[in-house]
């Protein structure tokens, strides 16, 4: 009797592919940008340039991953940049206080990651447990975290110990350190994709109330998303510390909105329920490549920001439109 309903089986092969790999449109944009970069500046595809690109944008990649874990469940975190700043200050100060040796560095890193975790936990309590609106609540916590960062390190400038930035910018067996980090990140993300929590977070993002009716611990799942977000924000802080080799209580301020942009560029829906962390990593790289392309085509320096802004807006719109076109 229900033969009336028309089947939506007319999914194109492309649609099915994008459904399986939501980051495909981002990958296409990325490849196109790489090609354009290579066209305008052949050196930009060289080993050195790519290494430079990755060490500069590794922090944003991590931060985009962090943001993805809350967006999965339909939330958002506007404090990731502030968490990054706080962790950056904490490890810089601790490394200096503990003498800057290898043990000090490792100890500071551990404390830094715990700090990120604690920040994520606070966000989770405020948003998931106390049910405040995510956008305004995480903005409030971002002010709080920035305050803490300023307390830990009132002015920018304290340098990181040599061993820290030498390692980050250095090579092992002829391969830059950042490549090992990328591989480690890939392994972690590959593991995370198979985790129960990922499926649960996406189910919550799909429809929190239905997930609740299904018997999922919705509050706990959202809380865990924020904790993961805090931890990855701390990892992003470790990268930025390696890249800038100094402490700055305001270093992450501008990065929050870029992390959201990277997530959307990567094909993850802000409304939750679908997307991929891989896409977010690609999204961060797209932002990096747009910035370098604008430089390579010889845009006058005062026009660079505008062209970057327009290109990112265009990519955002294109991504949303393409994703909708191939899988309505």
């Amino acid at each position: 009797m229900s033969a009336v309903e028309t089947r939506s089986s007319s999914r194109s092969g492309l649609g099915a592919l994008v459904e399986r790999f939501p980051f495909l449109p981002a990958l296409v944009i990325l490849v196109a940008l790489l090609a354009l970069n290579g066209w305008f500046q052949p050196n930009s595809l060289g080993f050195r340039a790519i290494t430079g690109l990755i060490s500069t944008y590794l922090a944003l990649m991590m931060l985009a991953v962090a943001q993805t874990y809350v967006v999965y469940a339909g939330d958002v975190d506007l404090s990731v940049g502030a968490i990054l700043s706080l962790v950056n200050c904490v490890i810089i100060v601790l490394m200096e206080r503990w003498g800057g040796g290898g043990v000090a560095v490792l100890g500071a890193i551990a404390i830094g990651i715990l700090t990120g975790l604690a920040c994520g936990l606070l966000n989770g309590i405020v948003v998931a447990v106390l049910r405040l609106q995510a956008i305004v609540a995480t903005f409030a916590t971002s002010i709080f975290f920035t305050g803490l960062a300023l307390y830990v390190l009132p002015v920018a400038g304290t340098p990181a110990p040599t061993v820290y930035w030498r390692t980050y910018g250095g090579r092992f067996f002829e391969i830059p350190f950042v490549f090992y980090v990328v591989v480690a990140l890939a392994i972690i993300l590959a593991i995370a994709v198979r985790a129960r929590l990922t499926t649960q977070m996406l189910a919550v993002g799909d429809d929190p109330f239905k997930a609740f009716q299904s018997g999922l611990p919705v509050t706990a799942i959202r809380l865990k998303g924020y904790v993961l977000c805090g931890v990855f924000s701390a990892l992003a802080a470790l990268c930025i510390t390696g890249d800038t080799a100094s402490g700055d209580p305001l270093v992450g301020g501008a990065m929050t909105l870029y992390s959201v942009a990277a997530v959307v560029l990567g094909g993850t829906a802000l409304s939750g329920g679908r997307g991929s962390v891989v896409g977010s990593v690609l999204g961060a790289l797209i932002i990096g490549l747009i910035n370098s392309l604008v430089f390579y085509v010889g845009t006058p320096s005062q026009w660079q920001n505008l062209v970057q802004g327009l290109a990112i807006l265009l990519a955002l719109m294109l991504g949303v439109l393409v994703t909708r076109r191939v899988r309505p």
Partner: protein, 500 residues
Amino acid sequence: MANLTIRGARKAYGATVALSRGDFDLKEGEVHVLIGSNGSGKSTLCKIVSGSVRPDAGEVLIDGKPVSIDGPRAARALGIATFYQELSLAAHRTVAENIGLPELPGKGGIFVDRARLNAIAERHISRFADVAGEGFSADTRVEHLREDQRQLVEIMKALATEAPILIFDEPTSSLDRAQVERFFEILRELKAEGRAIVFISHRMDEIFSVGDRVTVIRDGETVGTSQISETNPANIIRQMVGETELAVTEGAPPATVEAKAEAVLSVAGLSGKGFAGVSFEVRRGEILGFGGLHGQGQSAVLRSIFGVSPAAAGSIRINREERAIRSPREAIRCGLAYVSGDRGRDGVVHGRPILENVTPIHFLRNRLSLVRPGSLRERAAKPLSALKTRFAGYEQPVNALSGGNQQKIVIARWLIDRPDVLLLDDPTKGIDLQAKADLFALIRSLAAEGMGIVLYSSEDAELLANADRILVFNSGSVSRELTGADRTRYNLYHAAYEAA
């Protein structure tokens, strides 16, 4: 295995009492049918047991011991699994993930055990494999499934929990015969295993085919429980509707409108998503009924005429003039009005005052840009009082009213400036008997004043009592027209089930 008892369950949402006194008892090894008209409180009762609604009063006992069900997880821990009428599926997840979602099988602490998940899913999918239809597999995403296939996934999701107490809230509403039969086979097996099963359905034949006992619920109160073997459909209907309803619905069939009245709306060869080749005419002063089983294209036709999702082919004439209606805005300007039964989704502007809810059509039809509350109140008063709407004041938020009064507000917005044609899309869904009676009295008088009315109702009794002519829909087309003395319950059923 377990027995479940509910005593004196009560739930109110603001002024609306959804359930006033729910008593229910469920034994292991039985299929216990819960029946009642829309909005009688069946789903609320089920949701109290499944933990997603917090009762205002009452107690739940399992095997005689009082238990506290403070959420769906607690219900699961107590061995209760639920099929939700509105489904609890995650659209972007696969069939297998949805089936396993309540208890995702884990491996090594953090991973999903895909092999086990697929095994569980396959075990349940295989039981429906030959009836599920094409495109149904463990790795299909739920968003791509048809409505009946989604219901099957929700069924499998409930079954996969292996819970001793199973609640099925209208699990068969979109299923075809073969799917229903397969589901019933499984229910009988589960019963033999000693599971306790609650089954809600509106179809008498299903109830008598699979039920052991039946509890009737009316206006938020459980009226009584009887053995299926000791009752019959007529008895159950009598318990369901109470005496007042009979008085309303079994009134004399309305007179047939004179054939010479001019057609105010004529539709020819209308085709679109969910319907094909629909043609009909509505004359001034006529109430044209749309009948048939739920979801056979009746709503889709009405919404298409009203410009919500414009038809792919066909023509619409209003007052003999051909119109291309591409949006509700254009439809309203052409003199059409549309009232949906799903007032929560399509009608009520939630949390806003009554005045704001009753005026939007008036603004549009008179091209107003400024609001003059005084004159608006005056204009709204007439239709509101014609519908016998009960409300405290125009500034009262609409959600403070009962469902019936909310629907009256929505209908009144169409009557400040008279439309030529009133399209009613199951307008009495979930409203109380008195409100229904008020509504139909008004519709009849509107028709008498020369309006053309199309009434789709999912309740056959309403159609028979109010429509001058009935078009029976089946699979998206009109399968039969019932006029004059042909308008009988038998003919309506016969035409509705003909091809099903």
